[in-house]
């Protein structure tokens, strides 16, 4: 296992932990977007370009935008 793969696996573990342990949903949203980016890099390094293409737009733009709208609708104070 090369150094690049090891570093990316470690980064995925750390950022995944940060997604869960963040306090406010707005912070969690941006960390989730970053998690999508790191996951795309990991999928690319694991020789899976199709999977990386899927995860790139879905995890970075589509899901955070929908979560942002849901946050806006369910916030008690704007």
């Amino acid at each position: 296992m090369s150094l690049l793969e090891f570093v990316l696996f470690l980064a995925v573990a750390v950022v995944g932990g940060a997604v869960v342990f963040s306090k406010r949903p707005v912070n969690q949203l941006f960390i989730y977007s970053m998690y999508g980016g790191v996951l795309t890099l990991l999928f690319f390094v694991l020789h899976a370009p199709d999977v990386a293409l899927s995860e790139l737009t879905v995890g970075t733009l589509a899901v955070p935008l929908m979560v942002l709208v849901a946050l806006m609708k369910t916030a008690d104070k704007l």
């Binding site: 296992m1 090891f6 696996f9 470690l10 995925v12 573990a13 995944g16 932990g17 997604v19 869960v20 342990f21 949903p25 969690q28 949203l29 989730y32 998690y35 996951l39 990991l42 999928f43 694991l46 020789h47 899976a48 370009p49 199709d50 999977v51 293409l53 899927s54 995860e55 879905v58 995890g59 589509a62 899901v63 929908m66 979560v67 709208v69 849901a70 946050l71 609708k73 369910t74």
Partner: protein, 118 residues
Amino acid sequence: MSWTLYFPYAVAFWLFFIGCFGVAHSRNLIHTILSLTVVQSSTYILLLSIGFHAKAGAPIFSPANPPGSPSVDPIVQALTLTDIVVGATVTALLLTLTIQIHRRRGTIDPRDLRPMRG
């Protein structure tokens, strides 16, 4: 250095359990949904790690990379790439449910959303 050869599986299990911890301890349903997405992504990492073959390329052939050259497993990639797109849509469905819950009950704190009685 044999522990590094099981490190990807450890990362997948860590993400699974930390996601479950997030679901169990969340104070906000949106936080629950994003933790559930982390659990889903742990399965993608597990699948792709099982199918990985060192010193091999992607399962896409070309004149420079003719069929027969070593490559990683294409079946797990086919499973994962449809799952990512479909998982995003199920997340959208869960978010819609959350919006409805807020509309009816006024709160999205799981500790306040007890089952209705009477």
